[in-house]
């Protein structure tokens, strides 16, 4: 009963923040509301029994995306200060009809889905059964690497393509020299304390991912957060172009995963039928490096920090 009350409170908070995101008085309110929304979503995933998602959402949804949005907002302010901070008062005359239509859409969706019968047999059940026979203890990691490898492999490709897109857009940007942030002694002390700890947490998440909540995505996101923190403090100077080492590390995950996925073909197994815990860990480690660097470079590029 208490837990249901907590869920209701959380649900009300999420929906209220979402209203602020789409209809808040200023752009800044929307951004703050969205960042808090990400944090509450992390709690929501934990309540739904999905700790893997809670970890990823806290690091990516609230942390990285929030910082990225704030930096973009600052760039907008720098370009047109008088417009960006203004109250967004004018609305389309279609706003009311659209709002009504969207209410009907939500209500209809809820009615349709609430009436769905419970499935007799689900892919999730099969995956749990198959996980029990593999060496991997965390069913989510097993699905990501053993049963649905295509998803994960192509997800690495999406990250790479997104970075390429950002880099291309950035390359066309008018060069602007960003002011180096003024040194703050306390911030340096924080970095000295937090960055090694973050690396430790990333390593732990990668290691734990085989048997418990965690894995390459969460580890990569946490490591990327450390990189972002250092870049924001002016410790990492972003470049306009990736160095050969960076480029190599960016494709490392893709290369190792592809190699490990092709290997079973030689033994007459299907493509991407990864075998053994050691292979899983090797692929996950390479993925962590690529995801961490990819997210970090995406962040720098999207926030306009890289244009120099």
């Amino acid at each position: 009963m208490m837990l249901l009350a907590f869920d209701l409170l959380l649900a009300a908070g999420l929906l209220g923040l979402a209203v602020l995101v789409v209809a808040g008085p200023t752009l800044f309110v929307s951004l703050v509301a969205y960042t808090v929304f990400g944090l509450l979503m992390a709690v929501a995933w934990a309540r739904l029994g999905a700790p893997d998602l809670a970890l990823a959402e806290a690091a990516i949804g609230a942390g990285l995306t929030g910082a990225m949005l704030m930096l973009s907002y600052r760039r907008l302010l720098a370009i047109r200060p008088e417009r960006t901070g203004q109250r967004l008062v004018r609305r389309s005359r279609l706003a009311l009809p659209i709002a009504l239509a969207c209410t009907v859409l939500s209500a209809g969706l809820f009615m349709a889905l609430a009436g769905l019968p419970e499935p007799q047999r689900s892919a999730g059940g099969d995956a749990l059964a198959a996980t029990a026979q593999s060496e991997v203890g965390n069913p989510v990691t097993a699905v990501l690497l053993l049963f649905r490898g295509y998803d994960t492999l192509l997800e690495l490709l999406v990250l790479l393509v997104a970075w390429l897109g950002v880099a291309m857009v950035q390359a066309q940007a008018r060069p602007s020299a960003p002011r180096p942030p003024a040194p703050v002694p306390l911030l340096d002390a924080l970095l000295a304390a937090v960055v090694p700890g973050t690396v430790l947490v990333g390593g732990y998440l990668l290691h734990a991912g085989g048997q418990a909540p965690g894995g390459a995505f969460q580890a990569g996101a946490v490591l990327a957060a450390a990189g972002v923190l250092m870049a924001l403090a002016g410790r990492l100077q972003p470049r306009a172009r990736a160095t050969p080492v960076q480029a190599g590390l960016l494709v490392l995950g893709l290369l190792v995963f592809t190699a490990a996925g092709l290997w079973p073909l030689a033994a007459g197994q299907p493509l991407l039928a990864l075998d053994g815990l050691a292979t899983v860990y090797a692929v996950e480690a390479a993925m962590t490096v690529s995801i961490a660097l990819g997210l970090c470079l995406l962040f720098l590029g999207a926030a306009g920090l890289g244009s120099k």
């Binding site: 752009l27 998602l53 760039r75 907008l76 809820f110 609430a114 892919a123 989510v140 997104a162 997210l295």
Partner: protein, 109 residues
């Protein structure tokens, strides 16, 4: 369906409505991007909640797909932000700013 699942189904359905509303009505591209992300979160929630029905443990397949989806969503958002900033730098004008006070509102009605 359990009461808890109904609550979360309600949140997901509500977010779909709000997301679609935001994508259609918001004038500023940054806000459209946020609305698109809300819509994405709604889909993630739906996948996880529907995967929970009648199961003792949460569905690992939907969780894994959502995990992939979160990273794809942040990649797409980053690309969108970069495009938006490039457009803003180049045009600077009404293309982005309609909502903030151009005389003809969104110019879309």
């Amino acid at each position: 369906m359990a009461a808890q699942d109904l609550v979360w189904l309600g949140v997901a359905a509500g977010l779909v409505g709000l997301g679609v509303y935001g994508v259609l009505v918001a004038g500023h591209l940054l806000r459209k991007l946020l609305a698109l992300n809300l819509l994405g979160t709604a889909v993630f929630l739906l996948m996880v909640v529907l995967g929970r029905r009648g199961a003792a443990t949460p569905d690992p397949v939907s969780q894994a797909m959502v995990l992939t989806g979160i990273v794809v969503a942040v990649s797409a958002t980053a690309f969108g932000l970069a495009l938006m900033l490039a457009l803003y730098r180049r045009s600077g004008e009404a293309a982005l700013d309609d909502e903030a006070g151009a005389p003809d509102g969104d110019g879309r009605d």
